[in-house]
Amino acid sequence: MKLKSHILFALSFLAIPLIQAQNTAENILGAKEGLIIGGYGQIDGNFNLDDDNKMNSNGKLDVHRLVTFLGYKFNDKATFVSELEYEHVVELYVEQAFLDYKINDNMSLQAGLMLIPMGIQNLYHEPPTFNGVERTNVDKYIVPTTWREIGVGINGRLDEQSINYQLMMVNGPLGYDNGSANFSGKKGLRGGRQKGAEATVSDFDFAGRLSYFGMLGWNFGASFYKGNSETSDFEADSTQVGITMMGVDARYNNGPFQARGQYILANLENTAEYNAKTGADVGSKLLGYYLEAGYNVLDGKSENELIVFGRYENYNTHEETDGFHANADYDRTDKTVGLTYKLNQGAAIKADYQLKSTEASSEETKHLNLGVAVWF
C-alpha cells in the first residue's frame, strides 16, 4: 500500500511537466513579472603551436567567463538588470547593474553600471553569438571590452524608422592613479577601465549608438564616445587624455551566409603631456578593424548549425604617436579560420586556428583555440 501511494504521488508530479511543456508551446502566459534568471559562459583551451603545428609551449585551459544574469521585473515599466561575472574562476566582477524604466514604447531611462555602446561585441558579447573562441582583438585593444562604467542614459527603438538608439553620460576610464599610468602603448585604454569599483570621477563622458535594421538581412551600427579620462590628481590636466572614439559596423545574414565587419578609430588628445608626466607610451591614434564571413554548411539539413568562418583583423594601438616613433609591435594582424557548431542558439562548441603577426616582423605565430560557449 505504501509503495502504491508513492507511485501515485510520483505520477501526480509527472503530469506537471506535461502541462508546462504544453504551456511553453502555447505561449499564453501574461507578460513576465518577478525574477529573471539567466547567464552565459565560455570555457576555453588555448594552445600555441610551432611550424609543424605541434604544441611548443604550455597551453591554457580556462573557465574564462562564467556570468550569472539576475534581473527583477517590478512591473511593465521598471526592471533591474544585473550580471555577476567570474573571470578565470577567481576574479569576481559586476558586469552590469542598472535600473531600467520604460517611459513609453520608444524610450527607456537607465541608470547604474552599464555597457558602453561601442561596436558589436561590447554589447553582444554572449559567446554563442559570435564566431571564434575568443572575442575579437579589436574589441580588446581598441574597444576595451567588456567596457562598462556607471552613468545614466536613454535608449529605445523607433519601429517606423527601423532605428535603435542609445545615448548615455558615463564615467570615463581612469588614466592616472596616484602616480602610475593605467593607459599603455600596447593595450591602449584597457588598463583604465574602472568597472564601477570605487570609480574615480573627474569628468563625465558621453557615449551613443545608432543602429539601422530597415534593410532585410542587414544591421548597421554607428557608435561614438567623447570625453576625458579620469585622474586621481584632480588639478593636473597633464594626467588626463581626451578621448574621441568612433565606430561603424555592419552585420549581414542571408540564408546560410553570414558576414560582419567593424571599424573603430580612437583619437587621443594630450598624449604627449600624459606620456611625459607618467613615462607611458600611449599612442595618439588607435585604429582597428575586422572583416568576417561565415557559411552554415548544415543549412536546410539540420536544426543545428555548423558555421565555417574566416576573419581578417588588424588593430594598431600606435596608429599615430605624438612626439616619438610608433612601435611596430603594436600594429597587429590576426587571421582566423574556424568552426562554430551550434547545438542550439544558446549552446555551441567552437574551434579555431589563428595566425598572428605584427608589423615588426614577418614571422607568424600559430594558435589553436577550443571552446565551449553557452547562453541561457
Binding site: 500500500m1 505504501k2 502504491k4 501511494s5 508513492h6 501515485l8 504521488f9 505520477l11 501526480s12 508530479f13 503530469a15 506537471i16 502541462i19 508546462q20 504544453q22 504551456n23 508551446a25 502555447e26 505561449n27 499564453i28 502566459l29 501574461g30 507578460a31 513576465k32 529573471i36 539567466g38 544574469f69 534581473g71 521585473k73 511593465d76 531600467d100 520604460k102 514604447d105 527607456s108 553582444y124 553569438t129 535608449n155 527603438r157 519601429d159 527601423s162 535603435n164 543602429s211 535594421f213 530597415g214 534593410m215 532585410l216 538581412g217 544591421n219 552585420r251 549581414y252 545574414n253 542571408n254 540564408g255 553570414q258 560582419r260 542558439q345 544558446g346
Partner: protein, 167 residues
C-alpha cells in the same frame, strides 16, 4: 491505511495539478490601448467597417464580419523573447491565409528588430523555415517563427473543424 495514505496523496497531487493548470491556462488580457491599435490595423487592412467576435479557440482570436459575411480573422498573440514576452497581431483572410503581422509591444531592450515590417512580410510569402535571421535578435526571431507557425496551424485546424461542423 488506504484512506490515510492514498487519499491525501491524491489530493495533494490534484492540488498541484490545479495550481499548475491554472497558471498554464491563465489567459493573457491585452490592454484596451493595444486592442484599439490592432483594430486600427485591421481597419487599414480590409478598408471596411466590421464587427468582431471572439472565437471559441481563444478569447484573443476574433472572427471579423461585415453584414454577416466573414471578411477575416485577427489574433492577438504573445511569444517569448529572451527574458520577457512580446505581443503581436496576426490578420488572416476569410480562408485563413496570413495577410499581416505586426509587433504590438516589445518589452526587452534587445531583439526589437523583429518589429521591422520588411522582415515580417517574409512570413506572408515564404515558408516559415525560410524566414531570414536578424543579427542581434536571433532568440526573438526563432520564437516568432515558432509561434507564428503554431498559430497559423491552430487557426487552420480550427477553420477546418468549424467548417465541417457548420455544414
Amino acid at each position: 491505511m488506504l484512506i490515510k495514505r492514498v487519499v491525501p496523496t491524491i489530493l495533494v497531487g490534484i492540488l498541484f495539478l490545479v495550481l499548475y493548470a491554472n497558471k498554464a491556462y491563465a489567459q493573457w488580457v491585452p490592454s484596451e490601448k493595444m486592442l484599439s491599435k490592432a483594430e486600427l490595423s485591421v481597419q487599414k487592412q480590409f478598408n471596411i467597417d466590421y464587427s468582431k467576435s471572439a472565437i471559441d479557440l481563444n478569447p484573443n482570436y476574433y472572427e471579423l464580419t461585415t453584414n454577416d459575411s466573414i471578411i477575416g480573422y485577427m489574433c492577438l498573440q504573445q511569444a517569448p523573447s529572451k527574458h520577457d514576452m512580446f505581443d503581436f497581431l496576426a490578420i488572416y483572410s476569410s480562408d485563413m491565409k496570413l495577410l499581416k503581422l505586426q509587433i504590438l509591444a516589445y518589452r526587452e531592450n534587445y531583439g526589437g528588430e523583429i518589429a521591422n515590417k520588411r522582415w515580417l512580410k517574409q512570413f506572408l510569402t515564404r515558408p516559415t523555415e525560410k524566414v531570414q535571421a536578424i543579427s542581434g535578435a536571433t532568440i526573438s526571431v526563432e520564437s516568432m517563427k515558432m509561434v507564428v507557425s503554431s498559430l497559423s496551424q491552430k487557426m487552420k485546424n480550427w477553420y477546418q473543424v468549424h467548417h465541417i461542423t457548420s455544414k
